[in-house]
């Protein structure tokens, strides 16, 4: 009587090694958050952005495209995620200064973009407005990584004379004028421009450049202005300037 028990025990022992381990599927729900910068070795998530209409010519509004990531599964239909303004942290008014586009993650995708539409109002010529917003729960998504849910965008339409203009930038750009500064930002497509003491301190993501780059900027600006002034080059559709370009004091804008 004892023998069948041994046989069964041994057989069970042998078969126990054959048990398939169950792999559990992710069941945390689908979530969405703002992306980190898509560059090698991305820095920690940056939640603050500056936007200047000063370099955007005649544009009356512009759209910022903020990338978002999905945590979870891709599905075969478009899904909506939602973003809400944080009124107590914002000085800009929704519907007047800015609007949100519809946040959509397309079918089969893990990434999408959130559109922030900024409007150039008269106020922006003197003050800097700020909109703060965050990802909130929607039918399709829960908020994702807590550190990547908020974003702040400051926007304006004025320029501040760079502190290094008279000491470092003068050599490349000549005497400061607002018209010249605006022309520089418009042609280079930067919201601001700053001088780095050495090449090692350059940071193009923050528009900080060394003298080597400034020399190239100078040649480009001088050539482009020369051709625009002499009507060899046709101004772009959004070019806000009148040529020959004069500054706010009625003097010709020139690059040395």
């Amino acid at each position: 009587m004892k023998q069948p028990i041994y046989i069964t025990a041994i057989t069970l022992l042998l078969l126990s090694a054959c048990k398939k381990e169950e792999v559990k599927l992710y069941d945390g729900g689908d979530r969405v958050q703002f992306s980190r910068l898509n560059i090698p070795n991305p820095p920690p998530y940056i939640d603050s952005l500056d936007f200047s209409f000063a370099s955007k010519g005649n544009l009356e509004s512009d759209t910022l495209f903020l990338p978002v990531d999905v945590t979870g599964r891709a599905v075969n239909r478009d899904r909506e995620f939602k973003v809400a303004a944080i009124a107590e942290e914002s000085s800009a008014v929704q519907g007047i200064d800015f609007d949100f586009g519809k946040g959509i993650i397309k079918a089969g995708e893990f990434k999408g973009v959130f559109k922030l539409i900024l409007r150039k109002t008269k106020d922006l010529e003197t003050i800097r407005k700020k909109v703060s917003f965050k990802i909130i729960a929607s039918e399709d998504f829960q908020p994702g990584l807590s550190k990547q849910l908020k974003c702040k965008v400051a926007f304006f339409n004025f320029m501040v004379k760079p502190i290094d203009w008279d000491t470092k930038m003068l050599r490349y750009f000549g005497t400061y004028s607002k018209a010249k500064h605006r022309f520089i930002l418009y042609q280079l497509g930067f919201p601001e421009i700053n001088f780095a003491a050495t090449t090692a301190l350059e940071d193009p993501t923050r528009y900080i450049f060394s003298g080597v780059k400034f020399a190239y900027f100078q040649l480009k600006l001088r050539s482009v202005l020369d051709d625009l002034n002499s009507r060899i080059l046709k101004p772009a559709a959004d070019d806000p300037f009148t040529y020959p370009l004069k500054d706010e004091n009625g003097l010709n804008v020139i690059f040395p």
Binding site: Q3, P4, Y6, I7, I10, T11, V212, K213, A215, Y216, L219, K220, R222, S223, V224, D226, D227, S230, I232
Partner: protein, 497 residues
Amino acid sequence: MKRFHSSLILLSLIGTLFSSCYKDKGNYDLRPVDVLNIEPVTYNQDNYSLSQLDSLKINPRMTFTGDSTQLEYSWKLIPQRARTGDTTIKKISSEKNLMYVVQVPIGLYTVLLEVKDVKSSVIRSSSYGLNVKAKASQGFLVLNEKAGGIQDIDVILNNTKPEIFWGAFSANNTISLREATGMTMIQSAANASGLLYVFRKTGGYTLLPSFGFLQDIRAWFFDAQSAYAPSVIYQDFFGTNNYLINNGSVHSTTSISAPLMFSYRASGDYKATKSLIMSTYVFVYDDLNHRFLKYNKSAGKMQSIIKNPADAFDVENIGNKSCLLFDHNMASTTSPGAANFGSLKPLAYCKDNQTGKVFLYKFGFYKSLATYCESVKEVTAPGFSTATAYVNASNNPLTYYASENKIYAYDFTNDAARVVYTFDQTNVSIDQLMTNGTQLFAVVNNKSGNSGAVFFFTINPTGSFAGGTYFSKYENFGKITEVKYKYNTLNPAIPWK
């Protein structure tokens, strides 16, 4: 019965479990193995130090007690940085003694010999270091088209010897060369080893002196260009004056460091076609407005050449003409200075787009080195207006040109031309002429097939060719796009133009 079955199953199970404990007694019937030995060589990176195209010969010394016909040999060439399975590892021979023409990029390699006794599967190996150095540090680069539309750069190493380094580009690159239109080697005191720039129809490459790829054309410019169609690149002896003509626009640099990075185009309404560049002087023919312009580097713009009361032609409007050649009659390294301002005469041959007539526009320099328009006169030489190649002599008042299968020497002072050489073949096109003052070469392409040849002539003091014929000839190229001289640090100043 049931108990019997249970016992049987239990015994089988125990038997199965214990079967793994069975000791394999093996087979100890040993056969003697033939002994194979390769005489050891102390490995070092310079066991063999050769230039590309040289022959690597290794005769390994080995002993084998068996039938040597049963040995298999395998020679492999392994780049120093290669890993197992790397496609750059090449099997180069299956013979006992290695005889291999080195045709791999410059660098350090290991040559691995493996000898296998087929009978016993015993393998013995030996390694040798190989240092491959650049071939063709100087010579005539022949850009030509091979089968399938792929181009290559072959090198005539010395135009008095027959050796050609075939496939200098393909041996040193994994990319295929297509749509190349020309090339220029630049080298200066600031860039002693030099760089080779290859122009393509819509792009270009920078190559190292050893022909390996360094950069794409986008790296030549600080600002992105709307079109990439380079035609001229220039660097003076000191490397301080660097110019590039891309898509008809003139560019210069803010730094002399190699590789060069060119700035935004010089402003102005122009399309530069032919140019004459002499150190700080850059003159171009503006095909858009049919005029001659100069580049003002400090202002970053193309400007009119100053008009003078004594001008023999209107430098700002010569009529609807195309420029065939813009050069002077001195060595290509010449630039205006106090010593030569009276003899240095920029010359431009321009063809009227309506009448087909050609005119020679001659410039002069005042002592102040400002230019003036010295003369203009019609060229009546036979075939000049439809010539396929032009070059000014470096040391006499002649312009060589090629029409059909003939090379002419044109005396522009007296408007008289004479034939200096006629090729036997009639179905050819002479597509390029270059001279260094004492020699001239002609690129001769077959009109009906994909073949080309280069002929070298010695120029005598009268401008004719010594002996009335060429002194060397190189054939078996595909259709030749261009031939350029590649300098090296030892011999930097041979002024071919």
